[in-house]
Subunit: 139 residues, 2 copies
């Protein structure tokens, strides 16, 4: 199946098959009044099978959060039916107040009000560690 083109908006391509719904929820696409299309298990040359999302409006997208779910996504920006930009996602170096450190002895578990900060310590293995106790982030 294919979805035809959009005039203005985004095409999120090369989403890992099965991840489209998680992204749909993350970006709150159900609240949009514009058209949103989604295909799961589409055939792909690059990866065997993939999901695709098309959004017919240039909404704000948090690329860092998107990268955390699936860094393989290509974000195509469409204006007047033309792809004017292809954004490659990159894992963010720091994640602030998205996840909590699960080490009960970490200072963030004891002192309230501290920011929960993780930094990327291994890009290939996608490992993040708490800046306070170096505990590895597990989602």
């Amino acid at each position: 199946m294919n979805i035809d083109t959009i005039k203005n908006g985004y095409v999120l391509d090369h989403i890992t098959a099965g991840k489209a719904m998680e992204i749909y929820d993350l970006l709150n696409l159900k609240d949009l009044k514009c058209q949103v299309a989604l295909i799961t298990n589409a055939t792909s040359k690059k990866i065997k099978v993939k999901d695709i999302i098309k959004i017919a409006e240039l909404i704000d997208i948090d690329l860092d959060k998107l990268a955390l779910i699936d860094p393989n996504i290509t974000v195509n920006v469409v204006k007047d039916c033309e792809i004017i930009e292809k954004k490659k996602l990159q894992l963010p170096e720091r994640i602030v107040n998205v996840h909590k450190c699960n080490n009960p002895r970490c200072i963030t578990s004891i002192e309230r009000g501290l920011d929960q900060i993780f930094i990327l310590t291994d890009k290939d293995k996608k490992i993040y560690r708490c800046i306070y106790c170096e505990n590895q982030l597990t989602k």
Copy 2:
């Protein structure tokens, strides 16, 4: 946006705008290995705006459950790229063990193991009542 045709499967058309995700969950479409496409807020001649779901496989669909969520849906059955049947949904006369009666004095709240049965008492207003205590079903 339009999605091109499927070879075999279903086109769920005229879904009330905003209901596609609920149906996606109800039919467990995320677990399918075949292609599934979904458009929200598509333009429609019959109703101003609608959602559409296409499923590229002839899976089992519980039409009663589908009708309970949205009786306006048209289920098109596609074989060899042709629509061979258009199923109009109808509200089921009886709903068994899908919803619980919320009347604390109903016998189903006291005696365990009784089937939870509701019958359609007003088709136009979509009113179901418990067969034991006549309490109206509220979801």
